[in-house]
Symmetry: C2
Subunit: 584 residues, 2 copies
Amino acid sequence: MTYKAPVDDMAFLLKNVFDVQQQFKDIEVFEDFDYDLYEAVLEEGAKFAENVLYPLNRDGDEEGCQQDGDRVITPKGFKEAYQQFCEGGWQGINGSPEYGGQGLPKALHVLVEEMLYAANTSFTLYPSLTAGACAAIAAHASDELKQTYLENMQSGVWSGAMCLTEPHSGSDLGILKTKAEPTDNGEFKISGTKIFITGGEHDLTDNIVHLVLARLPDAPAGPRGISLFLVPKVLVNEDGSLGERNGVSCGSIEHKMGIKGSATCVMNFDDATGYIIGEPNKGLACMFTMMNKERLSIALQGTGLAEVSYQVARQYAEERIQGRSIREGKKGAAILEHADVRRMLLTMRATNEVNRALSVLLAMNIDLEEHSTDESVKSQASKMVALLTPIAKAFFTDTGYENCNHGIQVLGGHGYIREWGVEQFARDARIAQIYEGTNGIQAQDLVVRKVCADQGAVLFDLFEQISQTIAGTNAEFKAFADQLTIDLAKVKDLSQTIIKQSQENAFAAQGGAVEYLNAVAYVIGGWLWLKQLNVSDVLTDLQKQRKLAACQFFYDHLMPRIDSYVASISKGYLSTFELSDELI
Amino acid sequence: MTYKAPVDDMAFLLKNVFDVQQQFKDIEVFEDFDYDLYEAVLEEGAKFAENVLYPLNRDGDEEGCQQDGDRVITPKGFKEAYQQFCEGGWQGINGSPEYGGQGLPKALHVLVEEMLYAANTSFTLYPSLTAGACAAIAAHASDELKQTYLENMQSGVWSGAMCLTEPHSGSDLGILKTKAEPTDNGEFKISGTKIFITGGEHDLTDNIVHLVLARLPDAPAGPRGISLFLVPKVLVNEDGSLGERNGVSCGSIEHKMGIKGSATCVMNFDDATGYIIGEPNKGLACMFTMMNKERLSIALQGTGLAEVSYQVARQYAEERIQGRSIREGKKGAAILEHADVRRMLLTMRATNEVNRALSVLLAMNIDLEEHSTDESVKSQASKMVALLTPIAKAFFTDTGYENCNHGIQVLGGHGYIREWGVEQFARDARIAQIYEGTNGIQAQDLVVRKVCADQGAVLFDLFEQISQTIAGTNAEFKAFADQLTIDLAKVKDLSQTIIKQSQENAFAAQGGAVEYLNAVAYVIGGWLWLKQLNVSDVLTDLQKQRKLAACQFFYDHLMPRIDSYVASISKGYLSTFELSDELI
């Protein structure tokens, strides 16, 4: 079963749906880029994903990572693929050109990331974490640290890892205990244990640069007493060569449900030399600079796995002959003819294609936030990024897992057998709902910080954009515009409801947060379907008809989920709040 | 993390909610039984599940089944546990007393089954398949076959397996190819390959009795040309002792997402001696005799795994300190205080407890269908079994998987780590949505054969029972009764919609079948919650308050899903029908 990266759809989004170059017209760093370049990058990325990474995916799952002392060995072929990845310049695609990155837009990068996650999620997590670490270093570290580390990280010669979680401190980072003792020369000695560290140890690179959250001796309690440190596995000499081994070691690796080729490490820091990034006690803020990008990256894990799952299920459904077709009125039909199989495949495609669109919109706003010189554009983009990030992270990964499970179901009994590969997609997708902030946390973030904090101001800006799209819709798609008008009104009302609930009882609003996030996401989905249809005349007839089919399905059978969210949230969660623990 | 079988809740259902002994008052074979006996059986079953099976569950997943030539070795401890299982008489709990079974009601048996599946699904599948084979033999085989095989099977000395699926023939059994050649002595020579055979080979028993679907030489094509054969792994001598090995062998075992301690076998039949069960070419009908029981058994796999998942998540949520509680207004709260964790735990409990209730209702109707001497009771029960079986199978396993995934989410990152065990529950649960007829097939069965075929007559009988419960509801629960009245009306309308759709275009009705099944299930759930509340005064105050809390949650936050099903089905699936294959 093959995977083909959906390059045409990706180019359509960049060029026709969002016309990103038009959006970037005032951005100097992007002025030499054009759509031909973007398409060439997508084509090359597709080749790498399809031909190098995808063939390693199944075996990587079976083999997993192996521990040998404090060394961790990645599955067969990962090391060679990583060399090719670095040689192709993929690590620095969105990295700062000052330190060897290619400085391409995030809007392009997310599409490449989707392909990589689709082809091999375990592999892709290594460079994804490195990219995140680079972003934090580029934004907050001293020039000296940047000069010492960034070029080798952006080329992939060294990798990065993010060390946040401790055994007792997961979602609640404020209570972490890892210590940082200042030394006389301005450095720090880091001691403590971190868990669930993706790529904390592996054999792909000679050095691993850890970004570690820790407490200074005099730090205040809670989240305002956390600082960020760069702690390399191997110390770097003044001439840039590798020196002595630092006090960093991998205690063990976890045995997990999925992403078995990705090393998830317990990391021990034992008087390890570290260098502070940013101001003392401002570590969480530094870390959160890159958190939006990491959350978007994990969102793409959901989309990528759901896309490859769709493709495999679609192929199987065409080849598997079983039962009688009502459509064609014959025995011995491909199961693609069966009503329920069509329902599942269209559910997958209708969400995957709209999630992909939202990832480009969100990434484009990240680009504008970072690079625009127009302060109002920058500020508006920044607000959109803040609003859309939790939605993308939770919705892409929840629907991603749902869709991977549809993929299993299409294959029936074969879907449950490991050699067919689709059950791996589901297992690999499951973690994306948990890490980088659980989807429950994303929903709380949306309700509390992104919607209720400003009384829905930014959200209603977004809704205004939706109304404009509705107003400008081609007559051909009026039925969709009418339906979206109705659903938008429902979700506007629902937003008022949740704002009101949060004023009366914060718990009650948080109880409905996950449902609320989904309701908003389905309206955004309806909007982005309409935006695609409105420019679909540039597509081939087949492509346009496929868009129409998926959009119709989304409107008819997925957007109705909004009704259940509205009904549930309207009941409120006050009664749940009032229950004593023993009644749960 | 411990598992405690919910014995009190089970006894409450048998005695107070359904008062099964009153229902069975005219059934002679149950007349010596009473609630004391049922509770004693539940207590003993709980001990076995908690103390013998549950401790083997995690290791059994890690170790899996191993193949050694054509032998299959079950995980460590399974053999000893199986001996205890047999010695305790658990294999024949619901089996025919004429052949050593205990003849206890299915209504009790399902509750024991739930415990066993909760404690160790992989183990439980072996005796579950044996019980299914016994039921088919008891109903259709010759006296000679019964005498030769049933006693040893009902005691667990020999086990059973069901051999239906072939590589090209899964949901569509009509196209299976395994051949049965008659011999001169009235026996048959069976040749062919069967796949996905649960317990097809293992080391728990000295003999395995295969029930095999195959075609006679002159058989008509399709489902009406299939016959059922009993094919023992080891031939049985006239004196009942084991004789020569039959031409039955295990080619390989599958590597699966879950249920790794359950051997899923490719079985080769090579001129194997077989004995016909029932009439030639009537094999499918014989097999379907026991299919309702098997489907209910698999439904219980969903409930059991969701229950143990709830219990582990509930314990974790009480012990895990993380973040600030809005409820208690303090830092360092157990996550049980958090709104979203409460939402997940209550979702689990609210569905688990109502699914358990439905399993007793359905099993009680199986008992009445089998044993009642009142033809109208028997006939009405038979109709209810036919109607409720696909609902139970699909709904318990879909919500079972959903709930196991909530369990993972409550544990966060730890939920994804194998040693915590909850991800295993999800992996083990996933297959239940597929085997014994995929949940899509269950939904087609409900819509086509159980609802549309009689214009909803049996369904509206059930709705009439719901109305009676509403009419007789205590004033204390009037708000629920009012809500149920509204939702019942919605689902009645929806049933008319789907009947109308099926008359106009069968495909269109089938497209909405899964959603329709869920809509019906949530109304039945609301009904069974109300039935529980109406007799909840017999409970302790804490038990009653827990029932009330879960019921409230079910009505406020789960029954609203009906609205989305109504909205989606109302749009119809005609547009999906009309799409050419390339647009899917």
